[in-house]
Every structure is written in structure tokens, then in C-alpha cells.
Amino acid sequence: MFSLLFGKRPGQSVCSSLRALQNQLSTSAAVYRAKLPHEKMRYAPPVTELKLGIYTPESRRTGIIARKKGMTGMWDEWGVRVPVTVLQLDSVKVVHIIKTSNPNHPRLQIGCGVRKEKNTTKSLLGHFKAQGIEPKAKLFEFPITPDAVLPVGTEITAAHFVPGQLVDVTAISTGKGFQGVMKRWGFAGGRASHGNSLAHRTPGSTGNINPGRVYPGKKMPGRMGGKSVTVLRLPVMKVDTALNCIWVKGSVPGPDEQYIKVRDSIKLVKHRLFPEGATVPFPTYISGQSADLPRETIARVGGHDPLIPRAD
């Protein structure tokens, strides 16, 4: 408009068009900046109180951080020995409800263990104080569905798990140091005899002459272990509410006393998450509201007695 009114002054018109361009740029930048993650609209589900909900197959409960205590054995209802790992829930609490950009995918921050105040960094201590929770040794976030949100400060006990259900366990595996390709990647190695000289455990060739280089990701000797490993679909064999322990069938990565993550199994092709007819504590087991449980409950393996051969 300015340039139309004072059309015979080219210098001015150039100046104004520049300004318009600047305006345009600034508006587009504002639009662009609105899409940046830190300027997004963020949602936190409104949590009023702790009360029981109804579990649906689409619901996803929170996972927990537990402590691996060690391995032992037990016998199932048929007298078959089952190796188990004992995981203890050491004052597991909901520390924070994480705001996310998608209202359908909230996350819960779960804390486990006890950390001394003097050993907590100031920034972390401020986070704990803002939530009104004593400092925790370990923190981790678990994605959940909006119906499984728990208020901050809720304690999650071993009764959160149902005997017979399946869980995924994520833990850092035992560090094995610098290892060769036979142990680290399962290479076959060389021959033991027939003129083999100093090449019993070597990786052999690392590639052809044609590219003249080694492809990235070539399996070679190096540091083994000490990485996060997830073991899928471990059945919960026993739940002990007095010791606050769950017994998981089989082994769990890493050394004893380390913190591990346990969640309801997510890859369930040809598997059931919970045993048929089981009452699922949803969103978690709430003492006073949920039905009382005996101290120890053992999973029912069911099916046919494996020690009696079948007729067919």
C-alpha cells in the first residue's frame, strides 16, 4: 500500500518490500517455531485419586524398577523343577507424570530404592522436592495408556503382578571385557589340527579385494556385555507380598543386586498376557480396594501332567 501511494519514489518502495519480506519471514519463522518440540502443546492426564479401573486388552499398565536378588529353584504343581530369579520391589513409587505432546500416550516416571539426600545432585533433588517424594536411587519412564495413570506418590507392590502372567525384563548384561569373535559373535574359528598355525580362534578374512575396505558394522573382537538386554515373555511363577518379591522363571541379565526394568509383555503372538480368568489389578494393586491376597501365590501351570506319557 505504501509503495502504491508514493509510487514515484523507488528507494522507498524497495525499503518497504524488504520490510514486507521481513514480516513474512518472521511470521513463517513463528509458525515454524511453534512446531518445535519445546513449544508444542503438552498434556498431562488429570489424575484425581487412586481408584481401581477396568482392565481392557488395549490398556497398558505401568512397568516397574526392581532389584535382582538372585536365583533359586522351585517345583510346580506337577513336581517339575523350575529355575527362578527373585526380583524385589524396593519401595517402588510413582515420582512424576510426564507431559507428552500426545494426550493418548502419557508416561509415568517410576522410582525405586533409596538415595541419601547428600548423594543426590541439586537438580535432581529439586525434582524430587517438587513432587514431594524422597530421593530415589533409580528413575525410569514407562509409557502407559491414559486409563492406567497413577497419582504421584503411589507405591507399587509385588501384588501388581499376577502369578502366571508374562513379563519383559530389561537389564544391563554382565560385562565380559574384550572378547574374540568366537565368544562375541559365535564364529566357528579355525581348525584344531591339519597344519593350522596360530589361527585357531581368529576371525579370518574381513572382506573382499573389490571394495578394498572393511564394511562398517563388520563383526570383530571388542567389548562384550555391559549392554541393555531385554528378555521377552518370562512367566511370573510366584508373588510374595510380604517380602515384596516376584519370582520370574529363568534367568535375567546382569549381576545380583542390580536395578532392572520389568513390564507387562508386549509381544504376545500365540501367548496370553494374563492367565485365563485371572483378576488383573488395574491400574495397580491398591490395598484396601483390591481383594485381599494370601502372602504367597504360585502360578498354576495347568495342562496335562508332564510326567505321565500321553496315550496318543
Partner: protein
């Protein structure tokens, strides 16, 4: 030195719940009063042993006990096992020379070796398995200088020609027929 399991406490529950409640319940964990911060694994093992030790068989596996009261390597041992929990009346017996004992709390086991039809046979038994009905020491060893008698595989000598082993195999077959 006889240890027999009674089957009134066998854990074949038939209620319709999705879980099993153990017959023998400890309302409070078996924590000793002097334990201020109890080790969970020790408590669990203590409870498991208290449950499995219905017939006092744990006395056979105390390392510090005098040799007369405990199971030693070299003893002739008779073991009766039930074939399955759903039919506890059907049992199998085995007797042999104990060549090794592994003391691991609830996972304690021992190996028996015998010559059956001129073939060396070794059986490993979990001491606290609910399938083991009876553990009986038939004859104490005279003199053994090792904890593990694996040399008997190579140099048995006259070890497996003991009268107790032969007697036991006869009596066991007769008792099995009665059952």
C-alpha cells in the same frame, strides 16, 4: 536313619483359582530376630527348606553333623520316588553307592551309582523334590578319603559287589510288587 514324606501335604490343589496358595503358609517371613536387614535370598531358602523338610531329611545333608547321622560319600543309599504327583501310589526305587553330594540349600542333590545288568548306572536325585518319597541309608561307608568318588567310574574294585546293594535290589523289587 529313615526319611519318609507324607503325602497329606502334597500340593495338588483342585480349587478353581488361577493361582495356587501353598499349603504351608508363613504369615510372617522367617526372619531371625538378630537380622536387622535380612537377606531376602536367605529368608526364601529358609522358608523353602522348612516347607520341603516335612520328614526331617535335611538332617542327612548337614555338613557339620557327625558322619553317623548324615549322608556321606560312599554310603549305600536307597531312594524311593513317586512316578508322578497325580498318581502317588506308583513308585520307583533305586539303590546305589553315593558318589557325590552337592549341598546347595533347596537345590541340594546327590548322585547314586550302581551296576545294573552289568551296566554302570548313575542317578542324580534332587533331595527336596516333592517326587522323592523316601531316602534311606542302607550301609555306612567304612573308609572314604574323598568328598567326590568319581574314581569309582574307572576303578570300581569291589565297591558294587556289596551285599547290601544286592539285598536291597531284591527287597525293593518285592516291595514294589506289594504296592
Amino acid at each position: 536313619m529313615l526319611a519318609v514324606r507324607s503325602f497329606s501335604q502334597s500340593a495338588l490343589a483342585k480349587d478353581s483359582q488361577t493361582f495356587i496358595v501353598p499349603k504351608m503358609q508363613f504369615e510372617k517371613p522367617l526372619v531371625k530376630p538378630e537380622e536387622k536387614r535380612p537377606n531376602v535370598m536367605k529368608v526364601i531358602e529358609r522358608e523353602a527348606l522348612a516347607r520341603a523338610d516335612v520328614d526331617g531329611r535335611s538332617k542327612l545333608f548337614i555338613r557339620r553333623a557327625p558322619p553317623k547321622e548324615r549322608l556321606c560319600a560312599g554310603d549305600v543309599v536307597f531312594v524311593e520316588t513317586i512316578n508322578s504327583i497325580s498318581d502317588p501310589s506308583a513308585t520307583t526305587t533305586f539303590s546305589g553307592v553315593c558318589i557325590a553330594i552337592y549341598r546347595r540349600g533347596i537345590d541340594t542333590s546327590f548322585i547314586l551309582r550302581n551296576i545294573v545288568h552289568k551296566v554302570g548306572v548313575e542317578m542324580r536325585f534332587m533331595a527336596y523334590s516333592p517326587l522323592i518319597k523316601r531316602i534311606e541309608i542302607m550301609q555306612k561307608t567304612t573308609r572314604v578319603r574323598r568328598a567326590k568318588l568319581f574314581y569309582l567310574r574307572e576303578n570300581p574294585g569291589r565297591t558294587f559287589q556289596l551285599k547290601a546293594l544286592k539285598k536291597m535290589s531284591k527287597s525293593a523289587s518285592s516291595t514294589a510288587k506289594k504296592n
